[in-house]
Amino acid sequence: SQKIEQNSEALNIQEGKTATLTCNYTNYSPAYLQWYRQDPGRGPVFLLLIRENEKEKRKERLKVTFDTTLKQSLFHITASQPADSATYLCALALGRALTFGSGTRLQVQP
């Protein structure tokens, strides 16, 4: 069956360090992969989109990699800040719709 896996356990890191979140998938061949941020009680907010022919994408302190051989995407936040604390969702583009992972909660300690 098709599956998207993100670490269900929260990731706790110190302010200033790099946070790395993982998104693994099986039995998909997505053309695109997206990352979203979600704060408690709010809808997700789009962060980055990466296409299957792109290995890496950057936006300010954010970096996403996409390895279609490993079927994995890594999401990095450099110089992390307490304001980066949130749940981060990866989503795979399949047909007309997106399929979301269940998210990883990131907690950045001051």
Partner: protein, 114 residues
Amino acid sequence: DVKVTQSSRYLVKRTGEKVFLECVQDMDHENMFWYRQDPGLGLRLIYFSYDVKMKEKGDIPEGYSVSREKKERFSLILESASTNQTSMYLCASGGSGRIHHEQFFGPGTRLTVL
């Protein structure tokens, strides 16, 4: 500032009631989506629409229907609410056709069915 609005933030209904959740977007997007979000299960797609009067089932359409009479408005209908439909419901809009754009989400409606 782009916006997706949902008719209610919190809603409490009784088992068997018919429930309407409304979503409006002001970005002229052709694609609109309804998801539900439950702890540990993430976001699951219920239905989506890629044009007025067009709809497609998502992963969990059972117990739900939708209506898209105008481009900007997409409604989710629970024909006969049940307690297992207690959840956070999120509407989103984004792009057109099969080209994947970012999705813009509304604030969500937390529905409780007693």
